[in-house]
Amino acid sequence: MRSLRIGLLLGLRQIQRANFWTTGLIIFVMMLTFLNLIAVSGILVGLIAGAEAAVRERSLGDIILSPRDDEDHILETEAVERQLSAFPEIIAYSVRYQGGGELEANYMERRDLRGERDIAAVSVTGIDVERELAMTGINRDIVAGEFLAPDDEGYIVLGALYTEEYASNFGDIFETVSGVEPGDTVRLTIGEVSKEFVVKGILQSKVDEVSLNTYIPEREFRRLFGRIDRNADQIVIRVEEPARNDEVKAALVGLGLERQAKIQTYEEGKPKFITDIKNTMNLLGTFIGSIGIVVASITIFIIVFINALSRQRQIGILKGIGIDRRAIELAYVMQAAFYALAGSALGALLTYGFLLGYFERNPIKFPFSDGILVADPEETALRFVVLFTITLFAGFLPAWLIVRKNTLNSILGRK
């Protein structure tokens, strides 16, 4: 306790009397280290979080109903829909019919019937336009033409990655049709059945489920695919409070809907690779941040070492007049703690007071997502504890090395 008191007094006064600019510079370095630790992994994770948020908004929603494992479709879809309509926490839902088909373009201009056809294997989704737009608002992703209207017949909306013009940036990864624009006629073939559609619009989204899809009205889908039972392939649901979607899921299970469909929250239903990539990015961010911690530790070590070394004689004298070595060490540890605390506090202020909002308003544009900054307070607190602990050690070690020297040698400046 005595040592603590003396250590705090010595440490506090050293900080108070230190050069303002030097202290400012050290705190600035610590702030950058904190930001490096939080922001780098935060942005890496944020890239995926941005993608995840987009998938949730534009495609999967908060709760996903899909066919039970032993069924091909959601059973008694209309009955399920009635239940969903009456559920107060559900603010929107969309019933989707999904299948695969062959899209052909430019067939009317084709003169050589033995020549190569302009075709692409595509995913087809039949939707209730009003419900889909209320649920996902994917019409906002239209880049050419317009989205389907509720009463449209004979129109199709193509995902941009099925058109050569938009998919060319990705090389030959996707099967595409070429030169298709709104107003062109394309042919969709399902098995033996073909139907011509007029392309009404082209959708380009950072969500692959949208850009790699074609949308037609559900009535036409059912006719084309022969789905007379009206049983859908997917129902996605938006709830009033997304954070409580597990409670809504439990309520749906309580209503007995699990007899008709598999019910998953977004977290359960999202593709596993998203979680894997997120974890990988987090790990990568932690690794990069760790390098920052090492650099900061070395910086603190050098600062405290030089500080203690330049005060070696004073340290000897303090020991000479009977001051406990732990008190002297504590003074330097306190300095390191101050730098870490002040730097981290500034870093946290910058992160939560500015950067989070800034990246929210101005996301980083990546081909696959709009990257935001993710800084989970718990994760931040954990990283701060790591930074703080390592900084304390980096402050203690040089002080310990200097203080343990022979008292008289320190006083006389002998090595």
Partner: protein, 231 residues
């Protein structure tokens, strides 16, 4: 009258083998309680080395040192630090104040280390600063004081805890003659008025004249003891 320090055949050598240097060669002496003892000698005579042994800043290579009934040579580093804190006061050549602490805080340091409460330590420190003639300069940093004033603060720090022995290692070495004289007067007064036991190393005979005895050293040995005034 009681003996406070007894040394028996204290030796201090530096180096090993052929490079061994014997700085102290069997020093045996005593210091009585309340005595003012001056140690004089030329540079290299071993007077500072002897002072370091007596004040537990260094360990003798051989011999025994008893201070206030304790065999101080047997103490480990932590015990020696505690012993210095509770029993000894030390005035260094160049004041050796902590530059970041005010005069008052410098004096408070050993008191706080002894476990005094903050306010009690402050009052004692102010009393000690007043006693060395620096009334009102409690909050001054060392850099804001002259050399003589800094040395007075150092003396206040050394005696505030009422140590049994005050060691002063050439306390006037960095001072002009007027300031030096004032410091010697202060130390002499502490001895004569408060009965403070003082062991002081000095080059200047003039400054040693207030002592009870002068020990003369040469080449690591005591060459003579001069009685100036009886205890």
């Amino acid at each position: 009258m009681s003996t406070l320090i007894t040394t028996t055949n204290v030796e201090r050598t530096f180096g090993t083998g052929a490079l061994t240097t014997r700085v102290l060669k069997g020093i045996s002496m005593t210091v009585e309680a309340g005595e003012f003892l001056a140690i004089m000698g030329k540079s290299g005579a071993g007077k500072s080395t002897l002072m370091y042994q007596l004040s537990l800043l260094d360990e003798p290579t051989a011999g025994h040192i008893m201070i206030d009934g304790t065999d101080v040579v047997a103490l480990n580093e932590v015990e020696a630090t505690t012993f210095r804190l509770n029993t000894l006061g030390y005035v260094f050549q160049d004041y050796a104040l902590v530059p970041d602490l005010s005069a008052e805080e410098n004096v408070m340091l050993p008191l706080l280390m002894r476990g005094a409460a903050w306010e009690a330590a402050r009052l004692t420190a102010r009393g000690a600063i007043d006693a060395v003639g620096l009334e009102g300069k409690y909050g001054n940093l060392p850099a804001e004081l002259s050399g003589g004033e800094q040395q007075r603060v150092a003396i206040a720090r050394a005696v505030a805890g009422k140590p049994k022995i005050l060691f002063a290692d050439e306390p006037t070495a960095n001072l002009d003659s007027i300031s030096g004289r004032a410091i010697i007067d202060l130390i002499t007064r502490l001895n004569q008025e408060n009965g403070q036991t003082v062991v002081m190393v000095t080059h200047e005979r003039e400054y040693a004249m207030g002592a009870n005895r002068i020990i003369h050293m040469e080449d690591g040995q005591i060459t003579g003891i001069e009685e100036l005034r009886p205890l």
